[in-house]
């Protein structure tokens, strides 16, 4: 009895009593012919324009979700249960967005200095910084998964229409370029310790022009992609704060460039003990940093205008402080940079400016990622995201 039911295996006391019964979960074993689904087809009716509600429109007599005249409690709603699920992305993602951005910014500027300028210390610091800051990226991203041991499933498909998939491939390619750059830099730094023959080999193999060209041809576009996909990733969601916002991509990219410049400048200052000299390349980084900060502020303004009321979680509640901190970091960094201070204070001034800038960049990612969680918790905001009055067309 129970023995001849191969598909029915259980040690439960009731199992033997049940074994004569067909297992309802295994219809196939009963050799039941598949039923044809019969559906009474109604006579075809041409759509009546007067009746068919082609668009999802509120029924007659109902107020719009955002009707300003309607008191808050009278707005159509389902007991204020949030309509959307809140994002599951937490500190790991915010931290990765910041570190990954800094890494790509440093890589881009370091390679630009090597190709078009003198390279030197800027390229050197950029190489180490971009490698070290992309290093924690993958562990952070994997830790954030619901099932971390399946992280490699991201790479089983090539699906560039999903920013997360495209981003994963871009990180793979970019970290290859960053690693090759740091290895090259390390070997060149050790050049003094090498025998002449090894030095020759080094210059032929590692400082090989073709190799560098390939590295830059892959590395630069991938760095740009890694810097910008994070913003696009947030914008391709239905979260009220992020949904379809076209300013997120430029905002995160500009912030990546400024964080990269600030990181390099900090390292340069750490290396140059006490010297008040301000070499030309350092000035370039300062200028690029200022420009990037300007673009960031412009994008923030654009972001707030586009999001409108849906961005209110940045202006009140838990994320208010972080949002203000990001603005304060960006503006404070510029103020500290150009404040006329005595010569002997130049170095602390530079360090303070760069630290403020980095803090601003981190606070920006933190307030954006965590602000999304706050926005999805707020029932009214989740209703606004689907309200035509609050969703400018793309």
């Amino acid at each position: 009895m129970a023995e001849d039911r191969k598909d029915f295996q259980s040690d439960a006391p009731w199992a033997s009593a049940m074994s004569h019964r067909p297992d309802p979960n295994r219809v196939g074993s009963l050799q039941m012919p598949a039923q044809k689904i019969v559906f009474d087809r109604p006579p075809a009716i041409p759509p009546n324009p007067a009746v068919s509600t082609a668009a999802i429109v509120p029924a007659k007599g109902n107020a719009k979700a955002s009707d300003p005249d309607l008191p808050r409690e009278k707005e159509p709603a389902y007991y204020d249960v949030p309509m959307l699920k809140k994002p599951l992305w937490k500190w790991e993602i915010a931290t990765y967005f910041f570190l990954g951005g800094m890494s790509t910014g440093a890589h881009l500027l370091g390679r630009a200095a090597a190709r078009f300028g003198d390279g030197g210390d800027v390229t050197k610091m950029a190489a180490y910084l971009s490698f070290l800051s992309i290093l924690p990226g993958p562990p952070l991203l994997i830790h954030d998964l619901g099932d971390p041991k399946r992280f490699h499933h991201m790479l089983r498909v090539w699906k560039p229409s999903s920013p997360m998939n495209l981003g994963t491939w871009a990180i793979m390619a970019y970290s290859g370029a960053a690693t090759s750059e740091v290895v090259r830099q390390y070997l060149n730094d050790r050049e003094a310790h090498l025998k002449p023959r090894e030095r020759n080999a080094l210059n032929k193999l590692v400082n090989n022009g073709t190799l560098l060209l390939v590295q830059d041809a892959v590395g630069a576009p991938m760095a740009l992609l890694v810097a910008s996909y994070t913003g696009v990733l947030l914008s391709t969601t239905s979260n009220p704060l992020w949904s379809k916002n076209p300013w997120l991509g430029p905002l995160f990219t500009a912030s990546a460039i400024s964080s990269g410049a600030e990181g390099i400048m900090l390292l340069l200052d750490a290396k140059r003990k006490g010297s008040p000299a301000d070499p030309a390349s350092h000035r370039v980084l300062r200028t690029v940093d200022t420009l990037a900060h300007g673009v960031e502020l412009a994008c923030m303004a654009g972001f707030s205008t586009y999001a409108g009321e849906k961005a209110h979680t940045l202006h009140e509640g838990k994320m208010k402080g972080w949002h203000r901190a990001s603005l304060a970091g960006i503006i404070g960094s510029e103020v500290a940079k150009y404040a006329p201070l005595p010569r002997m204070l130049k170095k602390p001034q530079r360090v303070l400016s760069n630290l403020l800038g980095l803090f601003g960049g981190f606070a920006l990612r933190w307030s954006m990622v965590m602000g999304g969680i706050e926005a999805a918790k707020d029932p009214r905001t989740t209703r606004l995201v689907s309200d035509p009055a609050h969703t400018p067309s793309a």
Partner: protein, 319 residues
Amino acid sequence: MTLPLPIVGETNPKLRAAGAYLQHAATEAVTNFPNAFPPQRTEVPQPMDANDRKQIMGFFTDTTLCIGCKACEVACKQWNQLPADGNNFTGHSYDNTGHVSATTWRHVAFKEKMAEETQDGVSTSRWLMMSDVCKHCESAPCQHACPTGAIIYNQFGDVYVQNDICNGCGYCVVACPFGVIGRADTPHDDGHAHKCTLCMDRQEDGLTPACAKSCPTASIQFGPIDDLRAAARQREKDLHGRGNDKAYLYGCDSVGDYGPLNAFFVLEDHPNEYNLPVNPPQPFKGQTKRYLAGLAVGAALTAVGALLFGDTKRGGRRG
């Protein structure tokens, strides 16, 4: 088989646990290596033939017929062996479920509309009852989002999460404009995303999905999507003919950027009264433009850097 990793002498409980995890992971990796990239082993259902609309199956949920008996909610839980969500008391009429989730794939909404709330002067209290479900969007943001390819359109044209592939990244959860799909996140859960499968297993055996089968008032109807849409249009017309001019179809046709839903509804009130979005955003529309904006800003700033670096070089040579 367990791999002999040297964790035997470790006394620090945290490090020991870390070692045990590594051991477990390594063992899994070695024993499951051939299965590490699932597509080689998993039979993926053939996606629908887009030309044969007869194959696309869907739900038509007529809320004017719903009596709120929750048979569908229970049938779904039973058939799909979904765990209980605990004994919650929300205070929201007869609805203690709240919302669809990773472990609740049908949810019956109860809304009490009291007489004083109506705006057209007719003082009758009434109930709004609706059996909510995954909308099986024809162009589903969750499917666009999924970076592992776990979410597919199956052979019935329905949106289906392959549980052996999902790695719980959580992107679909934020992509869905209806707040449907969720991740099973309690410690004893698998950490994967789950939602209504439109009873793909039952459909494969020629059976009606459990909820539609159990619905005593035919509020939930199941069938080929074109037939359902025609029936729904007729139903809307009938309702208007009987004087229920508030009834309208939700999701039968595309609205704005958002394509039609394969599980659509007849509603009698503002969509937000049922916790449905008025005009769901289709966030994947226009993403190329957003990429280009980001890339352009990055390239422009790098180019400015390159130019200035070039100047320093020339300046240096001159000086």
